[in-house]
Subunit: 496 residues, 2 copies
Amino acid sequence: MESIIEQTSNDEVFDRIFHPANIAIIGVSPKGSGFGSGIMNALNAIGYAGGIFPVNPNGGRINGKELYRSLDEIPCPVDLAIIAVPAERVPQTLEKCRTFGIAGAEILSAGFSEAGTTTGEALEDEIRTIAAKGIRVIGPNCFGIYCPASGLTLLPGPDLSRESGNVAFISQSGGMSIDLAHIGKWMGLKFSKVISFGNGVDLRETELLEYLGHDRQTKVIAMYMEGVKDGREFLRVLRQVAAHKPVIINKGGLSKAGGRAVASHTASMGGSKVIWESALRQAGAIQVGDLCELAQTCLAFSMLPIMKYQGVSVAGGGGALGVSAGDLAERFGLDLPKFDDALSERILESLPRPGSSARNPIDAANPFVGPDAYKQVFLLAGSDQRIDVQVLIQLLHHFKAIALGLGVDSVKEITPYRELSIAMKDAIDSTGKPIILVMPEFKQGQDSLDITDLIRETRQVFLERGIPVFNDLGNALRALSHVSQYAQFVRSLGTN
Amino acid sequence: MESIIEQTSNDEVFDRIFHPANIAIIGVSPKGSGFGSGIMNALNAIGYAGGIFPVNPNGGRINGKELYRSLDEIPCPVDLAIIAVPAERVPQTLEKCRTFGIAGAEILSAGFSEAGTTTGEALEDEIRTIAAKGIRVIGPNCFGIYCPASGLTLLPGPDLSRESGNVAFISQSGGMSIDLAHIGKWMGLKFSKVISFGNGVDLRETELLEYLGHDRQTKVIAMYMEGVKDGREFLRVLRQVAAHKPVIINKGGLSKAGGRAVASHTASMGGSKVIWESALRQAGAIQVGDLCELAQTCLAFSMLPIMKYQGVSVAGGGGALGVSAGDLAERFGLDLPKFDDALSERILESLPRPGSSARNPIDAANPFVGPDAYKQVFLLAGSDQRIDVQVLIQLLHHFKAIALGLGVDSVKEITPYRELSIAMKDAIDSTGKPIILVMPEFKQGQDSLDITDLIRETRQVFLERGIPVFNDLGNALRALSHVSQYAQFVRSLGTN
């Protein structure tokens, strides 16, 4: 019983931190410079609707409003403090927050253990002691919390999305947290919570992972970690969480130089590459090599059914892509089952001849095959019981040549991307098998912003119909293979 | 002597093909549809300045001009024929071209061995016989030749660049040839020749490689191959050429499904993965896994000195990138040498404190460090004799927050990208060590076209100063490692 009670009370604290009714920002300069006013402006810009109380002991005004000289002047209870005062004043500020009854504090200030100074270390010890007396701390040397549902945002994040989703991200690096939040906005990743914990003197990887493991808004958990404070305990919690939610981990600093960068970045130890990789794998984590793979993998987990994928069909215009498809599928442990003559012939009826082939990969001879034809192709290919998932490759830049030929100004006008998304959605609904769209961007010149715009709008339209979009076939298949491997891991637990 | 004479005469033929004074396009429909009128419009659009003679036995008019009913009506000698008639009429058309004294023919038509029919095979045999009597053939089932110097372009390539460069590309796949040509235009790859040879009944991988091996305009040779006609002879020529020019090869169809796609794409055999990979490596080829890696590798070879690279410095804003840098360098066999205290302290003098670190990677704490500061950083880091090449990472999207803060409409206006390119060029000139720019594009939403535009303009400005630009640090280091490995291969030949 005790652990349940503790969990409930912890959840209450976390709820006040992630969904604060009132926020105090301590260390707002009347000049409008620095982290304090930066985060205040970001909160206003993203539309945080609760109370914001900027504090500066020297007073002054900002945006036409008087600054509070101390927490005591604030006329209501405060849930979350954002601390941006110089490092040496952080402990006393935090202690004041604690006695004022604030549930948690994000410390954005730098100049602690990451600076490699004994002063920095000592200041962190003080913070740790105060936190233990009853206030939870995120940071220091972090970018804070992004929670679209409540309107909390990261330090330089005035323009992040307000759409909530099922992906959570715990990041030791502030840069990675804001980068993924930006990437998510256009890639279609929607977040429950993004937490940049920096030096992590109090809340860090293990406790945050445990919390997100039972957070109902979170279905997929991503982590960027450099060092781990208590490896054994972390792996225990990881095993527990990974058994029912995918945990995607990018472990930085597993090389010599990477480890050195870790030390000056968040003052932790990287650890041995081989040991970490094998321990994380055994605990059921999905390991990724960099930020892009992390984002793509989260997208696949958040949008696709979590199941074993083996057979893939790939269709698109341009034969070389088909050849790549076979090679790439093999690299990621997937198959392109060969269609039999009868099915292949029926698929070919919808495609231009000569020039098309339909053995899987399905090579559509030219990039202008229309939505109705592709719908037929995907209904037929999806009827093969060996196919678990289908991939459509579109090279939309070719439509510009058509627009030029027709004398039409806008390539968007003549490209049937919306109809194509409807056709694909129909094929998904009829076959019960997911479809992935791949849109490589081969034209990225200054004269091709219209094509870029078309690709972005097409991505949006497909995402709205629940179809994940990747820029590269290899990236798509790699992400898919992560989902498939996780599904098999979970199944293997069930049979033990 | 004989081989030299033959070579000279071959070169004369190749010269007429790549730099034709007059082109006949046979199979131009008066309706303006099909490959024939497509390539005619593309040649006009790209500004080919020689004579274009459209032929159709049934006559008619196109673009207000009378079509020629036969080659005999053309009033001048023709160097190159582009054939776009239906497959069954290709042999007689080619024979007519030969007797008319045309040096070479691109056959764009499909419907040959790739269709898997005996008719198709038989037609190819006829083509081969005619070619042997004295006309060189590119294709069939190909997209033709792109040669910026002469204004030849690929089938759907009206908008390719007219800037010549030192990269040649031989591609069995038409799709890959046009894709790389498009990618090159914005990525900064400039081409001497791009040749899509399709089914390759006459000219194909070996002879084209040999020709480009002694082509003075070509410094870097890229190849996309599916099957090889005579493996032993190809490897012999490859060894010869790779000893003095880098040959970058993407071999498709090395998996089961990939091999099947090859069969229906260009009617050749893929071959065993292990055998091919080891044979190509021994012959000195640089092997790449896909089109993107091919393009990035060509960029590195065409813009960077070909030498052994070991020590790399990496500088940028955002610590996690630095951690990645160490991990990635190790993955690609490169080092990030740790700077000593004195150098590190001197570098830090130019960077914001606290928050920066300068052990290598050099973490600039925020993304707004200016050109003068970076110039100092690169001069200092470049003075370490262990450093062979330097990498600058820029996250330009952060400047949008500044533009918003300043109430400035255009993010371009307030981003010092031009000054930064000058600062980096100065650092290259002073240190004698190359610099690479990495610009990840973390914001790709429909609301971020202005950032995309900024990134594209910045890429252009850096390319103009001879600085290669990559979108991802891993991609940059991988390309660099290819250059380094090739330099070591060439050196190993010299010491044998």
